[in-house]
Amino acid sequence: MKRRTFLKLAGIGSLSVAAGCTSRPENTLYSLVRAPHDMVTGEVRWYASVCRECPAGCGILAKAREGRAVKIEGNPYHPVNRGAICMRGQAALQGLYNPDRLMAPKIKGHDGTFKDISFEMAKGILQKKVKGAAGKAEGGIRMVTETTGETLYELFSDALGRSGALKPLVLEPFAYESLRAAHKAAFGDEALISYRMEGADFLLCFGADFLETWLSPVEYSRKFAAMHGLEEKRKGRFFHVSPVQTLTAANADLWLGCRPDTEAAVAMGLIKAALDWGRGEHLFDELKHGLSRATAAYTPEKVSEETGIAVEDFNRLSNGLLESRWPLVLPTGSANEGPNAVKADIASILLNYIINPTLSLFDFTGPQRVTTAAPRAEADQFFDTLSGRPPELLLIYNANPVYGFPPARGVEAVKAMLEKDAPFVVAFSNFMDETAAVADLIFPTRLPLEMWDEYGGKEGIYATLQPATGLLAPVPHIGDLFLEVFYSAENRPAADYKSLLMRSGMEKAGVRSEREWLMDVIRVGGSFKEKEPVKANAPQVNPDVPAMLSGPVSDSLSDYGNGAASGETRRETLAFLALPSIRFFDGRGGNRPWLCEIPDPMTKVAWNTPAILHPETAAAYKLAQEDLVEIESEWGKLHAPVYITAGIQPGVIAMPMGQGHWGYGRYADQMGTNPLILMPPHTNPESGGPICAAPVTMVKRGRRERLANTDGSRSQHGRTIALTTSIEEVTAHDANHPVKHGLTMHDAPIWMPTPEGYDKHKDFYPAHEHDGYRWAMTVDLDRCIGCGACAAACYAENNVGTVGIERMLEGREMSWLAIQRYMDDDHPERVIFLPMLCQHCDNAPCESVCPVYAPHHSKEGLNNQIYNRCIGTRFCSQNCPYKVRRFNWFSWQWPEPLNLQLNPDVTVRGKGVMEKCSFCIQRIKGAHGIAKNENRKIRDGEVVPACMQTCPTGVFTFGNLLDEKSRVRKMVEDQRAYQILSYLNTKPAVFYLKKVTQHI
């Protein structure tokens, strides 16, 4: 070959290689022709709205990027939640972008299968049906709706009334019937009040799971922290009486396990003790004598006999209650447990009245919105009448009675009724849920994050919703739909729902123009001006009420539970309790992958539903953890794997609600078990509430079913991980507590993750120098209630993958922040929660072992993980003592449109890469940008990581350790501060503050 030929060929060759290697051009890159005026690419827009995942109605701020909502945070102005939000609120986005969300209406054909139709066509069908059914009072149109805001409810009522129909039935699975009945009995008004828990110094709770689902969990989590968190070296005391140690009970200073449905006996014993103590002088005689008579039998011994609570424990409880200045007694939980629930609730109200004559901790001013929900008995009646005289058209808005009623009632009766030809059932549902599946027409309408609306969780709160995200399909607003379908153009009260809302809202919020309404109300999320405190005097207590307390407490149910305790080896019947779930609420959260993936706070089981029982019960039935059992009641039977814990009474089985769906999308179906299967179809005759307790028998099945639990051990094995200190130690006057200066686990001091922590005797490498900032965090274990909101916020903010049950069983969950739950070795009912996240060590074991510098120490002290650099040796994870690193074993899936939730500020990691908590570095970078523009340093408190933002109890503090005045620095100097396993000399930048225990 000639030299010239060679050069030519080489030239052609290299050119063709270069030409062939250009990256593929992006084919679909186009800009919006008419962008919404408030949409700027790359910039965040916040929309104030209201969370509608439960009736509490917390205010939220939806963060929108490029026209889509990517994160939900609490609205700090909203009086209910003050900026925090629970994990269900965080997961509302996964309802919005759920891959199983219906994008078009569906009509049922003659063969029973659904066919997609257009929204216009569906509207036409609806219009025709409404016209046909109009004017027939009972046989015409009926409607069932979830708890809605006032404006929407009035529109529904008005629209139905115009067609001659009755008002819609508000259906809410947790409608607090027994508490309402108790209020009705005591005060003559069934309104559900709020509680000034923050003002109490003593809290006694008969099962109200106020940290999980009860009334307004975020609000009460905050108030609980204010009452029970260490403040000025003092903290309130909290007793919890219930058969199962729920998350709320686990936060009590003392959990008193009682037999199911015997809370009333404890309350009456306390009434007796209070009266005997001389309290209740303010009671008028009739009431006082009535009470003495009704409670005369309840001596501590009698109470003990009835409930299984030791006499001394009861005495501790009554002494504590009567010695306290501002006691507050809370009633039973969200799900009514048994026949005595009303009695217990009445007794709890009376107890409050006896020990606090002014009822100053009861807030009667703003009844909870959920009071509008119909008691279950009424709902039952509604469906009974329906099947007797079916209407022509039945409208169901966001309610799922087929799942939410006990199958003994729901599936058999409701479904049969709905499936009959007579009523044409329209489900305004975004999901093919159990109820939608038996409807004739499924008509998706906008979800709360897409709507103009108003919802106040309590009367007197005017909070608004506004669209925070673009529509995925031309879904109509339910209000607009009603205005169009039920009204003719002339008599329509408003052109569209938004104007209707504005009209009513201007009046309620006291604004005069549309501009004011938009700027002062919608923008803030409502009208939250501090009003003059309404001086609502406590209503008079009905003197006849003691009569309702008479009669023995120990009826049917309380007998079930005492078998194992009395030493019998095996009993035929056990008591089975269905518990409301902090993750799924009544089951509506069952299709949100985050809620499935974040484990239950108490059992640490994700995805599947365990049957929780006591070691004694397990021993009597020869059961081991994860053994499959068959539980049968008169009304049904189910299978579930067993979870054994001391946090339940012997002879009782408990199971969280919310799973076991059979038609709610890919994440919910056939996942777990629905405990309502075992529940009776009838309601509690006294309250009209659903019964969530049943006598059952249990049989061991040969097999095991593995639980997707994330805890490797319940014990700390004596290590310095989640530490406690006693209140005496904290309040001791000699504040100069012994300074540790050892090298072993139990006497190693704090070693600061700054140059101060350098000691040439123990450090091989010099300390890191930091550039202006050294980010650090403190975690106050005394305030942590273990609710898991932080974990959910972390999933949402950082695009953390959800892996599903199979992968979780393999131990591959991805949570960057996990709440670890430890039980005391000797007293397993003493539970401590510890949020574990990357400790951003100054002397990080992960950094030194990576061959390619993927974990990297930043100039601001962060332990950065450089995803692009990571080759996946996983050495860092092996060497991390805190085990906070997570590896992408696969490329995780976000089935469309779930991917729209992904935070554009955070990389989505591919397979083969290690990841972990970054202290929300995207937020730190954002703060840097702002500070730089304003030519200043980042202010203390300006950077708020997602976990800290959402925490209802204020566990986290984040800031710059180099700033002597920063809050985090002050917290580090607290005598309770410590570092986990500091003897390893990793010098973590996450400091924990010991939980303060008080043994009463």
């Binding site: 490797g712 591959r812 430890y822 061959p851 650099r869 050495f875 003592p881 997570r886 696969f890």
Partner: protein, 438 residues
């Protein structure tokens, strides 16, 4: 036994290079299929993600690193036999030195695959190399994995060269007998060896130097491998005895593998007069010694855990013996330290079936030792909430099958294509024997 003549040695060894029978090719084909299975599994893993294996959180390392350490360990005794015993003038190593050295080279090759298989993103493995780049990013020389990379590649280079140097005179001898293409290949490989005195002089000097160079590697390479563990903070790994402990274990397993390979080799190729029972007995005696060291190391670990008063260490070792991996632990203890003690009985160490059986058990035991250490350490670490267990998946077993097949595949090709016993060294042995009898 009558004395071997030089011609007899040549004949016996060169006879092994005759065209093989069908059974041989069948075996080679089966092994090749095994390799294909392994390769397919690896391909699948690259495509889908490392999660097809059984590793998880907290046990992020599984059979890939277990096998890596296992094969590096196997490699060691080859160099021990060919280099250290050479320097010590232990004549009994001559008949098996070649085979052991070959085993070393192939075992290092096999071992070298595992870090690649193990990586989450193997396509970026070059990030570990110190190549100049505009970001001025170098590998982290603090990381034991970088030590590993350097140690293993050095070891592979030195042991291959050492092996090849020793082969040159023998290849030349094979060339003289061969015909056709074979002759051409041997001719190239023998690098023009003619057997002149000057060549022998250079050769024996060179061989000696290589032996001296390879000797520290026996110690250093497995020490470095042990630092992958010892330099971490993981309880059960973070221990100063790891280097000698791993080296002893490596030689222990390597010697066992030598016996496992030699017994069939001498049966198939009529090497009984070359690889005599005495040779095997000497290897067995060494196994007693290494087994005792390994047993001592196990005991030391327990002593230190108790002596440290550190609750984490104590729990870690308690759990190792009595916890979830108790079966694996006792397999390890029994196979590695107790069973080799049987070699104290002369009858057993001279009985071929016993030798073979025990050598296999030691191999199994040493594999489980790596399992107990690598999976057991992180499974039961500092944070009890994060404890978890690991068991290998089918894909991992597929890859394991593939790599075992690869090793034996290479060894099978070797024994039929290159002299599997060093004729040169055998003749030296015979010559020295003659001299000593004079």
């Amino acid at each position: 036994m009558s004395r071997l003549s030089y011609a007899e040695i040549d004949r016996t060894v060169l006879d092994t290079l005759t065209p093989p029978r069908r059974a041989y090719w069948l075996t080679v084909a089966v092994l090749f299929c095994g390799i294909l299975i392994g390769a397919t599994c690896w391909g699948y893993q690259i495509l889908v993600g490392i999660g097809v294996g059984g590793q998880n959180h907290p046990v992020a390392w599984g059979t890939y690193l277990i096998n890596f350490v296992f094969w590096v360990g196997i490699a060691h005794s080859g160099t021990l036999i060919s280099a250290i015993l050479y320097l010590f003038r232990a004549g009994w190593r001559n008949p098996i030195a070649r085979a052991a050295e070959t085993m070393t080279v192939f075992a290092v090759c096999t071992a070298g695959l595992f870090p690649l298989i193990h990586l989450g993103r193997v396509w970026l493995v070059y990030y570990m190399l110190p190549y100049p780049n505009q970001r001025n990013l170098w590998p982290n020389f603090q990381s034991p994995l970088v030590f590993d990379l350097i140690a293993i590649s050095t070891y592979l280079t030195v042991s291959s060269l050492f092996w090849y140097t020793g082969l040159i005179p023998d290849i030349a001898r094979a060339r003289d007998n061969a015909t056709g293409t074979r002759k051409k290949i041997y001719k190239i490989l023998s690098l023009g060896w003619t057997g002149e005195l000057e060549q022998w002089r250079h050769y024996s000097r060179g061989y000696l130097f290589f032996a001296a160079l390879a000797t520290p590697l026996v110690i250093s390479v497995h020490s470095v491998v042990s630092w992958d563990f010892a330099l971490s903070v993981v309880p059960g790994w973070h221990s100063t005895i790891f280097a000698p402990y791993f080296v002893a274990g490596a030689i222990h397993s390597g010697l066992a593998m030598v016996i496992t390979l030699m017994i069939p080799l001498r049966a198939i190729f009529n090497y009984k007069r070359i690889i005599t029972d005495d040779v095997l007995e000497n290897v067995a005696k060494t196994i007693i010694f290494t087994g005792l060291i390994v047993g001592f190391a196990y005991a030391t670990e327990y002593f230190i855990a108790w002596y440290s008063h550190n609750p984490v260490e104590i729990e870690s070792f308690r759990w190792r013996a009595l916890g979830d991996y108790t079966v694996e632990f006792w397999i390890m203890v029994i196979c590695n330290t107790l069973i080799p003690l049987l070699f104290f009985i002369k009858k057993i160490r001279r009985s071929v079936p016993w030798l073979f059986g025990i050598s296999i058990l030691v191999n199994v035991g040493m594999w489980f030792e790596r399992f107990v250490i690598i999976a057991g350490g992180p499974a039961h670490g500092f944070i009890p909430h994060s404890w978890g267990l690991y068991s290998p998946s089918m894909v991992e077993f597929g890859i394991m099958l593939g790599t075992f097949s690869l090793f034996f595949f290479l060894f099978f090709l070797f024994v039929k294509h290159l002299p599997s016993v060093s004729m040169t060294e055998m003749k030296e042995l015979v010559h020295e024997g003659e001299n000593s009898h004079d």
